[in-house]
């Protein structure tokens, strides 16, 4: 991943991104020429049928996987010492052997920030994430929702150039999910961070994002980019979005595109 001088308000530039896997002697294209510009401070949601390569794309941006071809540039201010990205994972990813505070401060510790200073730095973020009073708790004492709050706090505390989220609320029950979506928006709106948010939930994509990127089934390509920010302004309330008639239209529109992709994917698998 290369890092370039800041453009107007461009944060991430992805060009011709490709990733293929070889499985049993056959080559599969997970991503086939993805081109994408993401603005600074934008919340981009990525939806697509299972196996469309959306998580692969995120892992390549996160440097946890390597592309077969193409480039990813993350623009950053000259002399910025921020980490390029921090990821919130889908599964339970906070360390069971660390307290809530140490989990949240993990990225800061990795950057060599001393104990007292990093604890002071994470405290306001823990409070904003609704974790005040739980700083010394161990994860096994927390509910699933609280654990994902810790994972969010860890990513925000790291203060990265871009935040990457891989279905962070997929494993949570519906009520907890609604609450955490609201909290995520609240924390994100004050942070001004650029977010790439992978989800399988159309509802979640519309509720949270400025733009929704719809990906096609294998090979993963960009099928559509839908503007949401122009319809639902910020600050945004998740429940209000769902009760808006435009929400239903958007949902139906994205679902039609995904349904066709799911059918195409099923046909391809059967062939």
């Amino acid at each position: 991943m290369s890092v370039a001088e800041p453009d107007v308000a461009l944060k991430v530039r992805i060009r011709n991104l490709r990733r293929s896997f070889v499985l049993h002697g056959r080559t599969f294209d997970a991503l086939d020429g993805v081109n994408l510009d993401i603005a600074a401070g934008e919340f981009l949601a990525v939806v697509g049928p299972s196996g469309c390569g959306k998580t692969t794309m995120l892992r390549i941006v996160a440097d946890l996987d390597t592309q077969t071809g193409g480039t990813i540039e993350v623009m950053r201010a000259a002399g910025s010492s921020r980490p390029v990205n921090s990821m919130v994972f889908q599964q339970e990813s906070i360390f069971p052997w660390m307290t809530v505070r140490d989990n949240a401060a993990f990225g800061l510790k990795a950057r060599g920030i001393g104990k007292r200073q990093r604890y002071a730095m994470v405290q306001p973020i823990l409070e904003r994430a609704g974790l005040a009073g739980f700083e010394s708790a161990l994860p096994h004492q927390l509910s699933g929702g609280m654990k994902q709050r810790v994972a969010l706090a860890r990513a925000f505390a790291n203060d990265p150039e871009i935040l990457l989220m891989d279905e962070p609320f997929a494993a949570l029950d519906e009520q907890t999910k609604l609450i955490l979506q609201g909290e995520l928006l609240r924390i994100w709106e004050t942070s001004g961070k650029t977010v790439i948010y992978v989800t399988h939930s159309i509802d979640e994509a519309i509720s949270l994002a400025d733009r929704v990127l719809v990906m096609s089934a294998r090979p993963g390509r960009i099928k559509d980019l839908i503007d949401i920010a122009g319809i639902f302004s910020r600050p945004r309330d998740v429940a209000t979005v769902k009760s808006n008639p435009r929400y239903g239209e958007l949902f139906a529109h994205i679902w039609r595109e995904l349904r066709n992709e799911n059918i195409a994917g099923a046909v391809e698998q059967a062939a």
Partner: protein
Amino acid sequence: MKSADTNPRVNRLISVATPLLLLAAWEVAAQTHAIDTRFFSSPSRIFAQFWQMLADGELLYHAAATVTRVLIGFVIGATVGVAFGLAIGLVPVVSAAVQPLVDATFPIPKVALLPLVVIIFGIGEASKYAIIAISVVYLLIINTAAGVRQIEPIYLDVGRNYHAGRLMMFTDVALPGALPSILTGMKVAMGVSLIVIVAAESLAAKSGIGFLIWTSWQVFEVEKMYVGLFVTAIFGFASSIVLNWAERRLIPWKRS
């Protein structure tokens, strides 16, 4: 439904009652001369001997020698074993270099190395520490490396994504992640240490419980021999209590 199988209090009672019953049966068999007391003695005589040896300091002398050897050897072996195990689990080059050696030499009975160890480390205490350390190091290398490999890949992803350096990957991810497996290794290694030290002391020492057992048998002081065996059992029991306690303290997240 509450049966004897599921009631923990009843189970604990059974755990205490079973050995007591066996001792009682032994005592009855000795009193009625159903067994040859020259070889098998009796619990009452062994306990009398135990108290006497406790009073005159003989027992403490041998017990302290054994405990010191086991503890020093165990700490050395465990430290080296955990360090190598982490390196094998995390660094492919180290794994490639060390794993085959470990696999090939692991099955050699460590007591069989005693002559070599005595040649290298001398007849003194160093050879006792060494034979324990050698026995312990294998079990901890194997268990630690396995523990690291069993760590959920997601935790390693987090470490990489948050740019944890190599040292931090060791101390903050691999070591705590492998801790459950390390503690299992320590429990097994402690048992093996006791087996090895008693054997080693029988062969090449002038003190210790193993020495006590073997010399008592040779001079036909059967009660003293049984005291040695009994004390070895107590060591095993006490060490498992200590290690279970350590396990609860160190890995609270593994408790249900």
